[in-house]
């Protein structure tokens, strides 16, 4: 009978509609459950005091569970306008110490002035630029803000924004 046919298809559509809305909401909820927890996000800021560093010294600190290389450049090391971080009139290379190839941690060889990744032979110069091997781009620069002699990682200061805008 015609009426019951159309009633049935109405029920079908109604069910389809409700199920779609419910499905979309649950997918969103599931996606968010997999997102990092608020506590994880809040722990994303680290402050380092650079005042005690010597020229040519490399310091590795941890930020968001990633190693950060801070290298205070000495006079022999080539400057790089685009990537150098100037704090208190000294020049630093500040990069995330994870190879941009597959994420291994490159080791610093001071005599050669290179960061060498053992995994697939990638190499980066003192400014963190890839000079050899499979890494597709220079080492990443973490968001930072300069406060006097201190560096706050995780916050985007004006220097960082300028650097990103130019890149």
């Amino acid at each position: 009978m015609a009426t019951s046919e159309s009633r049935r298809s109405f029920i079908g559509f109604a069910f389809g509609g409700v199920a779609t809305v419910g499905g979309v909401f649950s997918l969103v909820a599931m996606k968010k459950t997999w997102d990092p927890l608020p506590s994880v996000k809040a722990a994303g800021f680290t402050t380092v005091d650079l005042s005690g560093m010597n020229e040519g010294e490399l310091r590795t600190i941890e930020w968001r569970k990633k190693p950060i290389f801070i290298l205070k450049k000495d006079a022999n090391m080539a400057k790089d306008e685009k990537r150098d971080v100037i704090v208190d009139n000294a020049t630093y290379t500040v990069v995330i110490g994870l190879c941009t190839h597959l994420g291994c941690i490159p080791a610093y060889a001071p005599s050669e002035g290179l960061f060498k990744c053992a995994c697939h032979g990638g190499e980066f110069d003192v400014s963190g630029k890839n000079v050899f091997g499979p890494p597709p781009r220079p080492l990443d620069i973490p968001p930072f803000k300069i406060e006097g002699t201190k560096l706050v990682l995780g916050e985007e200061g004006p220097e960082y924004q300028k650097m990103i805008a130019e890149a």
Binding site: V40, E62, R64, P67, L102, C104, A118, C119, H120, P134
Partner: protein, 412 residues
């Protein structure tokens, strides 16, 4: 309701309520297997046995394992290995089975390719099998991570990093998968969930589907002869068991499989008792350290071939980055076998040795896979890098170019 009468025994009692006799007939007694198949067809049953071993030993391990980055390493290396009675046995069985199951999967797959068992009518068997392979890989990888040793940690780091190669959303995707900016506790607990809950359920469902898909076009045989299963089965049932070309799965066929299972289990326990180390990377006996990469990262042996395809492309071509080429090639390597029924343009179903060029193609593919596996383990420097590159190119060319060409010729 069916008419229930007083049962004359336990089987009859069950039969009246659950039709167990009919079920046994459908599943086993009247499930027909061609007679002309060799030991390579026993791999399916062996895989079922190995999966059962993994499942049971896994349950025993879960009782002591702790999915927490602070506790995981000790719960495996101390509690399970030293404190729990026979804990070492379950762990070694689990580890060795996880490794050996890939050997058998590869033999199973290559048998399918050799005898053309992916063709004409058997495509769904092949595809469900490939799906199983992919989910098994995810299962193996998520399990590899759980002991939270150095290699586990860095394997997780590298593999999750690969998703960064996805256009536009890559970086966010990596963080989403890890649940943190780097591989850490949330990553461990979610991989734990995948390894012990979600993926096993998916695997069991696909296994059921794989078996079901097998029942309709039936299993292939050594000479790829097309059998009329109904006719041959009728012959068998009429008493002409010699003249019929098929035998029932139970008891006739399985009895032979039991022999292969016995032989295999002897080999398996030999490995578990005397050679378990091959499935245990020494680096994994150092606890995970997020701030120190091991000098040399490589996956377990069964992923080496695709790992080598990933890193085989080590130089940029034009404006395309080496990394992206490698990633694309790696992606292709993961899915290309799914398409085998369509890359093979010929509809001749015959074993490879009766197919001339295809036979040559098959052996070159096998050798190439072995070369990739060997070089996947070696450091990618100097000449090694070039051999890896060559073998990766050969791999892609064999499947994407050579196979369609030679099989189209064959069709003419």
């Amino acid at each position: 309701m069916a008419h229930i009468t007083k049962a004359n025994g336990i089987v009859d009692w069950l039969d009246q309520r659950l039709a167990v006799k009919k079920l046994m007939n459908v599943l086993m007694v009247e499930y027909w297997i061609p007679k002309q198949i060799n030991f390579l067809w026993a791999m399916g049953v062996i895989l079922t046995v190995l999966f059962t071993v993994l499942f049971v030993t896994g349950l025993l391990l879960v009782m002591y394992y702790k999915p927490d980055t602070a506790l995981a390493f000790d719960s495996v290396n101390k509690t399970i290995m030293q404190e729990a009675d026979y804990g070492w046995l379950w762990r070694h069985m689990h580890g060795v089975a996880a490794s050996v199951i890939f050997l058998i999967i590869y033999i199973h797959m290559l048998t399918g390719i050799y005898y053309g068992s992916y063709k004409k009518g058997r495509e769904m068997i092949w595809i469900s099998g490939m799906l199983l392979f992919v989910v098994f890989s995810a299962e193996a990888f998520s399990g590899y991570m759980l002991p939270w040793g150095q290699m586990s940690y860095w394997a997780a780091q590298v593999i999750t990093n690969l998703f960064g190669g996805v256009p536009f959303i890559g970086d966010a995707l990596v963080i989403w998968i890890r649940g943190d900016y780097a591989v850490s506790d949330p990553t461990l607990t979610r991989f734990f969930m995948l390894h012990v809950c979600l993926l096993p359920i998916v695997i069991i469902m696909i296994i059921a589907f794989h078996f079901y898909a097998l029942r309709i076009p039936h299993v292939n045989n050594e000479i790829a002869e097309e059998l009329d299963f109904d006719l041959e089965a009728q012959k068998y049932k009429n008493g002409d068991t010699k003249g019929s070309k098929v035998i029932p799965f139970w008891p006739a066929f399985l009895s032979k499989d039991f022999m292969y299972i016995c032989l295999f289990m002897i080999f398996f326990f030999y490995l578990v008792c005397f050679k378990f180390n091959f499935a245990m990377d020494p680096i994994n006996f150092d606890p995970a350290d997020a701030l120190k990469t091991p000098a040399h990262i490589y996956p377990e042996w069964y992923f080496l071939w695709s790992y080598e395809v990933l890193r085989g492309f080590f130089f940029d071509i034009g404006s395309i980055k080496a990394f992206d080429i490698g990633l694309a090639a790696f992606g292709i390597a993961q899915v290309i076998f799914f398409l085998l029924p369509w890359l093979d343009r010929s509809d001749v179903v015959k074993p490879a040795h009766a197919r001339g060029k295809f036979f040559v193609w098959f052996w070159i593919l096998l050798v190439d896979l072995i070369v990739l596996t060997v070089y996947g383990k070696l450091p990618p420097t100097g000449i090694n890098a070039w051999i890896g590159f060559g073998a990766s190119v050969v791999f892609l060319a064999l499947l994407l170019v050579v196979l369609p060409l030679i099989t189209r010729k064959e069709k003419e």
